[in-house]
């Protein structure tokens, strides 16, 4: 079975600084999909960024980028130029390539942003 581990329960960053959230996973599959979701105080689950395992190029979405290391089974999220609105719980998630499979989430990292 696949597992997702987020080893940082809490992280903090100052506005305009950069922060990296860690995520590792365990799988025997060669093809899969990885996601970072943001959950603000409203509790809405919002997709931040996704990565296909067969793509070597790291995904980027504006201020958000990932460092995907397939051999190390690592998928970290870098937030650049942090903003107060980035404060939230961040979940790393794994999805198998079979149709209809559900997301497997890590325990989450609470990010606080100070001015």
């Amino acid at each position: 079975a696949q597992t997702v581990t987020q080893s940082q329960p809490e992280m903090s960053v100052q506005e305009a600084e950069t922060v990296t959230l860690s995520c590792t996973y365990d799988t025997s599959e060669s093809d899969y999909y990885l996601f970072w979701y943001k959950q603000p105080p409203s509790r809405q689950m919002i997709l931040v960024i996704r990565q296909e395992a067969y793509k070597q190029q790291n995904a980027t979405e504006n201020r958000f980028s990932v460092n995907f290391q397939k051999a190390a089974k690592s998928f970290s999220l870098k937030i650049s130029d942090s903003q107060l609105g980035d404060a939230a719980m961040y979940f790393c998630a794994y999805r198998s390539p079979q149709a209809g499979t559900a997301l497997i989430f890590g325990k989450g990292t609470t990010l606080s942003v100070s001015s």
């Binding site: 999909y33 996601f35 409203s42 509790r43 809405q44 689950m45 997709l47 996704r50 296909e52 979940f91 999805r95 198998s96 390539p97 079979q98 149709a99 209809g100 499979t101 559900a102 997301l103 497997i104 989430f105 890590g106 325990k107 989450g108």
Partner: protein, 114 residues
């Protein structure tokens, strides 16, 4: 754009009562997933449906049941409620084969059992 709609948004029930949560997926999405998120916890997969058939089962208690209807909306039925069932229940929808894309989440139903 239309999103996943969940109702009710908040629900308070007493122990041993029953509750029904509803989920209306994004139009044309054929797959629905239910997740349970306890306080300070990560979302745990409960069950999923595709074309009105159960497609996968996670850590759903026997006291819970769910179904998907012909209009693709889904209902999660919870009986003999326990204090530990207090959680945020998410529904997500997607196209069956679209594993590379995100599953779109509703805003959740917050269930409180007292």
């Amino acid at each position: 754009a239309a999103g996943v709609i969940q109702s009710p948004r908040h629900l308070i029930k007493e122990k041993r009562e029953t509750a029904t949560l509803k989920c209306y997926p994004i139009p044309r999405h054929d797959t629905v997933y239910w997740y349970q998120q306890g306080p300070g916890q990560d979302p745990q997969f409960l069950i999923s449906f595709y074309e009105k058939m159960q497609s996968d089962k996670g850590s759903i208690p026997d006291r819970f049941s769910a179904q998907q209807f012909s209009d693709y909306h889904s209902e999660l039925n919870m009986s003999s409620l326990e204090l530990g069932d207090s959680a945020l229940y998410f529904c997500a929808s997607s196209f069956w084969g679209a594993v590379a894309t995100e599953a779109f989440f509703g805003q959740g139903t917050r269930l409180t059992v007292v």
